[in-house]
Subunit: 181 residues, 2 copies
């Protein structure tokens, strides 16, 4: 606790990671540049290379920050599911809420695609992929958990690419079927 004002390296590092995440969500990994990140963070260009030697490092930091957000999102989901009387209905509602921030949703798929192309990023992508099935597992078992996760991912992708809305009753029914109900 030093009460700094002018200098705060950790805050800068975090600000750069956040800004990178936002640029990735907006422009995609492939169009993420030092200058765009610096501008969004309100920091000079040199700050990006000072804290992250290469562009790949910067992007990895942005994606890591994104997975940290996803993880906290998962924690919230886990808690909401804990006391839920109707698992399928609750999952549907959570999905609906998740879809309100399309920027964030795009980010998730940017992460997946980046991990598909660069194996070093796979641990990050698995936080989301495996993390969600782990949340579901106690309720429905490992197999159904993975299936439901896949179903949600696919439906989210569908609404994202077609710009349509989620068919909530249909989703609830599908989840029930997958749980063997």
């Amino acid at each position: 606790m030093t009460g700094r004002r002018t200098r705060d390296p950790e805050a800068r590092r975090a600000a750069l990671a956040t800004a990178t995440m936002e640029v990735i969500a907006e422009n995609g990994v492939g169009r993420t540049t030092h200058r765009a990140v610096a501008a969004r963070a309100g920091l000079p260009l040199g700050a990006t290379t000072y804290y992250f030697p290469t562009l790949d490092d910067l992007i990895a930091a942005g994606l890591a920050h994104a997975t940290a957000m996803l993880r906290s999102c998962l924690d919230e989901w886990a808690e909401r599911l804990r006391g839920a009387p109707d698992l399928a209905a609750t999952l549907t509602e959570l999905t609906r809420e998740y879809l309100t921030d399309r920027q964030q949703v795009r980010l998730e798929y940017e992460l997946c695609l980046a991990a598909a192309r660069d194996a070093r990023l796979r641990p990050l992508a698995e936080v989301w992929m495996r993390g969600f099935t782990d949340v579901l597992e106690p309720y429905v078992g490992a197999a159904a958990g993975r299936d439901i996760c896949a179903l949600l991912d696919g439906l989210i992708l569908l609404t994202l690419t077609t710009g349509t809305d989620l068919d909530e009753p249909g989703l609830t029914a599908a989840i029930r079927r997958l749980t063997g109900g």
Copy 2:
């Protein structure tokens, strides 16, 4: 049928679209450049801007070419399903085969993400999204068709990002559950 040898504008246009598709699959939409496409097509740089005024046009042509391939892929799937005794098992087998070419799979998700970012590309993405559910609809109905499509998309994404193999028996069982069997 003119038997040209030296000049063939349509062949060049097609070669550029194909090359663009390949570059997108390898590097992603965001890292697709005129020069990379020209090099892969074995054509001079100027050819890219002659046939496609801007980079966006070139990329759109590459994605359109990709959807054309996806459509023919869908046709093949439709035919294989037509005489299949066991729908779920056949779909699992088709998915397994589809996953052998990861480059092509990545391309599909590049298309989805590009469509999510640029509404003008949505008609292309819908060829795949809706096309597959249309193939399934006669067998399982519209709702289950969409759910199975989503399930497959999600599982394909999972295997793509984690680098793992498909759980074939699990997929077959999940499809059976979604069809109400």
